[in-house]
């Protein structure tokens, strides 16, 4: 198992170099003046700028391999460069935005996976009857409504009309507490920090701010998980060992939840792993609408401003995450299914 993990980690650099080269070559499709726009966002900034001097200073005219080499050797030294759109170093920009995204992502993952699996099991148990159709159609509708429409409607109802779930991560008063000297930011995950500081008002406030975005994400991905679970369950429920279990006199609930679900989870784990990356991409919209300054929103913004140090840094980060997720998927296979050995 350990040698397997080590071997998977060994291909990490290959993937990372490949993926950054891919993005870099895309960026190099633009001319130097176009890439200059990262630094000049408004015509007013053209006053007294010698564009050619700026191009030379930033090295935008050098051959691509020199520019890439400069960047990658910086990375090797732990310097990911300066992100113009964040106004800080790329590393800083990522560190300050990571907790928001991770908090939202992890919190959403739970209802998405658990809710999706429950829905899928429910539909498979009711295969082809009324409830199966209803839950399937509802899930497909959830999948079919664009996130930006759904998110804005959520905002309109739960903040605009009812005032329950405000946007951003914390209220102003709570941010003041979090930023004050008496509050120790262990993780910058406000829920965890609130608990560690025994400040439950912060915890409550953080949760309140997360409800609407979590629902928005969940609605979208439920259909995805549910669908896989359902078809996987339908297949498993026809397996001989399910009949064996029934023939033993096992209760139907136990048959479904003990004997079937664990087997049915194997394909679900695969897609859930793949989903995590898609979910992170999907956070672009959710974070934008609910004003959560996280990685998704940052990456979209950086991409649109052609802030390529940030884009490349993000690519590294996501590539790393992909390998990590795949590893987690493989390990959880081994946990769920004793037949699989990681070698």
């Amino acid at each position: 198992m350990i040698s397997y993990i080590v071997r998977r980690l060994l291909i990490l650099p290959i993937i990372l170099i490949g993926v950054t080269l891919l993005v870099f070559s895309m960026i190099m499709m633009l001319g130097p003046y176009e890439r200059l726009s990262t630094y000049i966002k408004d015509p007013a900034e053209l006053k007294n700028v010698d564009v050619d001097v700026l191009v030379t200073k930033l090295g935008l005219n050098d051959p691509w391999y020199e520019q890439y080499g400069r960047w990658i050797s910086g990375v090797a030294r732990g310097d990911m460069g300066w992100s113009e759109s964040a106004g800080s170093t790329v590393t800083q920009a990522f560190l300050s935005r990571f907790p928001a995204t991770a908090e939202l992502g992890l919190l959403a993952l739970l209802p998405v996976v658990v809710g999706g699996v429950i829905l899928g099991v429910f539909a498979s148990v009711h295969h082809n009857d009324f409830w199966d159709h209803v839950s399937r159609v509802l899930a497909i509708i959830g999948w079919s409504v664009p996130t930006f429409v759904f998110g804005l409607i959520m905002l309109m109802i739960f903040y605009g009309t009812l005032g329950w779930f405000p946007p951003s991560r914390l209220d102003s008063w709570a941010l003041d507490i979090v930023n004050s000297a008496g509050f120790i930011n262990y993780t910058n995950f406000f829920i965890i920090d609130g608990l560690l500081n025994a400040n439950f008002a912060i915890v409550g406030n953080a949760i309140r701010h997360l409800v609407a975005p979590v629902i928005t994400i969940s609605i979208l991905w439920w259909a995805f998980i549910m669908r896989i679970t359902r078809s996987s369950m339908l297949e498993i429920l026809r397996r001989d060992y399910i009949r064996t279990a029934r023939a033993k006199g096992v209760k139907e609930n136990v048959v479904v939840y003990k004997h079937a679900v664990r087997n049915a989870l194997i394909p679900v784990v695969t897609v859930a792993g793949r989903m995590v990356l898609g979910l992170l991409g999907g956070l672009v919209i959710t974070e934008t609408i609910f004003n959560i300054k996280g990685l998704g929103q940052f990456m979209a913004q950086a991409a649109q401003q052609l802030d390529y140090p940030a884009v490349l840094g993000g690519t590294l980060y996501f590539g790393f995450l992909l390998i990590l997720i795949n590893l987690c998927v493989d390990v959880s296979y081994a946990i769920i299914d004793p037949r699989i050995r990681l070698e």
Binding site: I11, I14, I15, L16, G18, V19, L22, V23, M26, I27, M29, L30, H133, R136, V137, I140, I141, W143, S144, V145, P146, T147, F148, V149, L152, I153, L155, M156, G160, T161, A223, R227, S231, L234, E235, R238, L277, G278, L280, G281, G282, V284, I285, G296, M299, A300, A303, Q304, L306, V311, G314, T315, F318, G319, L322, I323
Partner: protein, 291 residues
Amino acid sequence: MEWQEVVIRLFKNKISLIGLILIIFFGVIAIGAPWIAPPSDPSEPYMVPRAGWGFEPQPPSSEHIFGTAEGQYDIFYGIIWGTRTAFRIGFIIVGISSFIGILVGTLAGYYGGWFDEVVMRITDIFMAIPFLIAAIVMTTILGQGLRNVMIALITFGWMNSARLMRSQVLSIKEEEFVIAADALGAGDFRIIFKHVILNTIFPLVIEASMRMGSMVITASTLSFLGIGAPEGYADWGQMISFARNWILGGEGNAIKYWFTVVIPGGAITLFCLSWNLIGDAFRDILDPKLQ
């Protein structure tokens, strides 16, 4: 299962029937667009006509039955011609990316060895960036426009088909009839196409029908972010992005501009829904294990 039987079953299944009816409905609108909403400038039928130069959306009236969006773009016209855009986006992106996926996946799975290894690592590299972010980067670089959106979505949209195809090919490669064909001396090309692809195509068809809807949504998300279709182009995502800043109404009337959201939002949701319903039913029908 014969394809005729598949079609018959699609029509018999209530859920897929709803989906089929919706698709046919959209298809009729797409074909009939020049008669339903005659363009004022036939050389540029996809440019939505403007009813004025102001910004505030105007509610439905006899002249503009769905009202006008921000910038006085006629929503009815945009929806009708946008149907064509939706089909085009869906068919082109899904068609080409599935084709690339089939080709790559089949070759990798069939030949195996180092070739497979290299191809799958390349696939991994493409999959290492979240789809939406990759699409944003690429569209930003290529510039605004539907063609560029499609290029970006194809570039980062073929990997799933490839992996699916590869695993199908791997599992079927060992089966007798392929080995038999090999022994009979059929050329590689023929083996792949005649046996492997024909025997593995169905899961891919299901996947493709599911992706039709989500590609249209992704394209509209790019429009929403301001890097999709050019402003004024008949595209549902574009129509919704016009609604972005009006969705919360105004002057104490929260649903004052409902038509800017509900009509294009409804169109895109129904379109995506219908493909998904068909795909879902398709899967149930074609999956022999579920019979």
